[in-house]
Amino acid sequence: MLIRKPLKFEGITLVELIVYVAITSIVLLFVLRFMWNVSGVSIRVDVSTELIQNSRFILDKISYDLHVAENVVIGSSTFNTHPGALMLDMPAGAQNIFYDTYEKDILVGRQTIKIRKLRRRAGEQQAVDVTGDKVNVANFVLKNRTRAQESSNIKIEFTLAFVNPGQDPQRNRELNVETAVSLRQ
């Protein structure tokens, strides 16, 4: 007896393919998310971003104030040591600008730790924080590089360390920045 095997396409239909791709992608997403969290990449990116943004803000603020200032009030500034302080005399009767640091207690998880923050005060107004609560100003040193009677030039060195009370290696990053600004008087 002849057994007729009907010719059949042994393949995947398009719908099946689409379904497979969809399911595989979803599975992959969950797997990779897991990998991502395990490897700590997102933590590293967050820490980096926080350090970069704080550094940029400090640089922009201090550079602008120094460019515009009429002169540096040396008697009220602290040079060559950490923590430093800078008092600027602004032109045309505008209020003096004062940069310094202070220590603040912050809550991380269930721990209370002390961090150092940079702040800026205009005249007698309330001081405004320049750095956020997630970074510690580990170093803030100002050096007066003015020569003879020329326009003032101030060198600024600061180190920002991510607040890491638990000594987590993923969060163990700091950024060292050095710059200088001349007054445009």
Binding site: I3, K5, K8, E10, G11, I12, E16, L17, Y20, V21, T24, S25, L28, L32, W36, S39, V41, R44, V45, S48, T49, L51, I52, S55, R56, L59, S63, K143, R145, T146, R147, A148, Q149, E150, S151, N153, K155, L175, N176, V177, E178, T179, A180, V181, S182
Partner: protein
């Protein structure tokens, strides 16, 4: 049988399907997974790279700013080429061709754009995580323009400067010409006591310099120069003096030299150089002693005592007093010439001639072209010409002692304008300013000086100066009357009026600034500018020197570097005296001029310079 076939087929297709499915799944996974992993890794390295970039940007800013600081200190340190930076000595300096800051290498490349501009390129480079070199290179530009400025708000700086007939204008925050003062309440502001029995015989004032000559002082000096820059505050300082050795009768000044008419028989005219108060020469004149003189436009006119066989009026060419003083001409007056005043092309002589108290000599040919006979025979001692009028002061007369004559036509008709009868006074000297005449008299007592009103030809007030001796000389400048007296201890007296509510102002006043130290020997000055309001004019002169002491003897000069020029337009380039000893020390003076009723108000002065 059919079912079996179907089962076989089903089983076969199931087997085939699963293998295919697995293969496809793996294939899809292999396509997508690496992409996601790469994204994850890239974002991490990207954030680390951002950290590197922000440190690099901060270093690049430091590089440009440090170059700027070096430019501020010394433009010439900006040498073309690549340089690293160092602040080891407490200030920025170039070292080598680059320097390292941890993993960053930085350098600044300097190149010339033009003579006073340089282009600076800061290059910061480092190796990234992936071993690839990164760099950033922002650029900047530096200009050779480190300009400094000395700004003075005059109302605030008034006390640190020196004032002659100027005062603070509170309402406008500047300085203005002083009030003329109420002459009915005069007082002696300050006087000087020269050694011995000094008689102040003749005064000449040129801005803030007063020159006085006296009778023979023996060991003392007969020629004295005084500084009037701070007279309004009661301060007079001696600038210099010269020994003449004889009685001096009159002094006149022209172009940096003083010409003194003296009693000497061999040196009737003595010449003193005013830059160092050295007596540089003399003129030996024929005939009698020199009694009067007047210098103007390179001509020195001299009048002598009456000479029976000779002349009494002489003119000399004084264009080069250090080399020669040639006689230009002379005229026969036949009387003593007591005083001379040159106006236009004519010399007006006050004489002892009973019929020709005023004689007019044309200077082009030294010929007598006119005369005027005052009533009665009193001798004319003083003459002063202002505008179209000649004013004469004379000995006690039965009529008047002070006359005003219209000399608009010196060679034509002279008519009287008015006269003042001073009673039994004898006028020795006259000075005319505005609508007032100021006289000094031989009378002494309480009537050594008087202020005359020229609008109605009357005596406005008699002024009793210190002592009771006669006054031989008078000169009015700013808001002060200067009197030369024969009083032994009050040789020169400065009179000021009382507090006045009238609107009469001084017509000229001078504010002299404090002395300013630029701090560097090689200072180049840029511009002088000022702000003034009100009615009138303000003009400036400046002087510089290498030391503070030398500033006192430096010449006041204007925009062409010479003594008789003045800065009249704000924001003008400053030109120094080519003979100045240096440029480290600077001083300016502002001369205010008004019409006697209104004053300009000078508020701020600014000097820009580079060093």
């Amino acid at each position: 049988m059919g079912r079996r076939k179907i089962n076989i087929h089903e089983r076969r297709s199931q087997k085939g399907d699963s293998l295919l499915e697995v293969i496809l799944a793996i294939a899809i996974f292999m396509l997508i997974a690496p992409a996601i992993v790469i994204v994850a890794l890239r974002s991490l390295s990207g954030s680390i790279e951002s950290e590197d970039r922000i440190v690099a940007a901060a270093l690049a800013q430091e590089t440009l700013e440090a170059s700027r600081a070096i430019r501020d200190y010394d433009w010439d340190s900006l040498i073309t080429g690549n340089h690293g930076l160092s602040d080891a000595n407490g200030y920025w300096e170039f070292v080598g061709t680059s320097d390292n800051k941890g993993k960053y290498t930085r350098a600044v490349a300097i190149s010339d754009t033009d003579a006073s501009t340089k282009k600076i390129v800061a290059a910061v480079s480092w190796q990234g995580l992936d071993g690839i070199s990164n760099s950033i290179s922002p650029t900047g530009q530096l200009t050779k323009w480190h300009s400094l400025q000395w700004m003075q708000n005059l109302a605030g700086s008034f006390l640190s400067g020196f004032a002659n007939s100027v005062e603070i204008d509170e309402a406008n925050g500047g300085i203005k010409l002083s009030n003329l003062g109420d002459w009915s309440q005069p007082s002696v502001l300050v006087s000087t006591n020269f050694s011995g029995d000094a008689d102040g015989k003749s005064i000449f004032i040129d801005k803030n310099n007063l020159y006085l000559v006296t009778k023979n002082e023996g060991s003392g000096k007969e020629f004295i120069a005084l500084d009037l820059s701070d007279v309004t505050k009661g301060n007079l300082t001696t600038l210099g003096s010269a020994e003449l050795g004889t009685n001096a009768n009159h002094v006149t000044v022209f172009n940096g030299y003083a010409y003194v008419a003296t009693d000497s028989n061999s040196e009737e005219i003595m010449i003193v150089r005013l830059s160092d108060y050295a007596k540089i020469g003399s003129i030996n004149m024929p005939g009698g002693i020199a009694v009067s003189d007047f210098a103007k436009d390179n001509i020195l006119a001299v009048g002598t005592a009456k000479s029976s066989g000779g002349r009494e009026f002489f003119t000399y060419d004084i264009s080069n007093p250090e080399s020669s003083l040639p006689l230009s001409g002379s005229a026969e007056i036949n009387a003593k010439v007591n005083d001379i005043y040159i106006s236009g092309n004519y010399a007006y002589l006050a004489t002892d001639d009973n019929g020709k108290e005023l004689i007019i000599v044309r200077l082009s040919d030294n010929s007598i072209v006119n005369f005027y006979n005052l009533p009665d025979t009193a001798d004319a001692h003083a003459v002063f010409v202002a505008g179209n009028a000649a004013y004469i002061g004379r000995d006690n007369s039965s009529v008047s002692e002070f006359y005003a004559l219209d000399i608009s036509n010196p060679e034509g008709t002279i008519s009287p304008l008015g006269d003042v009868d001073l009673g039994s006074a004898e006028i020795k000297d006259i000075f005319i300013a505005g609508s007032h005449g100021y006289i000094s008299t031989e009378n002494g007592g309480t009537r050594e000086t008087a202020v005359l009103n020229l609008n109605n030809y009357s005596v406005e007030i008699w002024i009793d100066i210190e002592g009771g001796a006669p006054a031989d000389a008078v000169w009015m400048y700013g808001r002060h009357i200067y009197v030369g007296s024969r009083e032994n201890t009050e040789t020169l007296q400065v009179i000021q009026g009382g507090t006045s509510t009238s609107s009469d102002l001084a017509q000229e006043g001078i504010f002299t600034s404090q002395k300013f130290d630029t701090g560097a020997a090689a200072t180049a000055y840029q511009n002088i500018s000022w702000i003034s309001i009100g009615t009138g004019t303000v003009s400036f002169q400046i002087r510089t020197a290498d030391t503070e002491a030398n500033l006192n003897s430096a010449k006041w000069v204007g925009p062409d570097g010479a003594e008789n020029s003045y800065y009249t337009v704000s924001d003008t380039q400053i030109t120094l005296d080519p003979a100045a000893s240096g440029s480290r020390w600077f001083q300016y003076r502002a001369i205010l001029n008004g019409d006697g009723l209104e004053s300009p108000i000078l508020k701020d002065v600014s000097i820009t310079y580079v060093n």
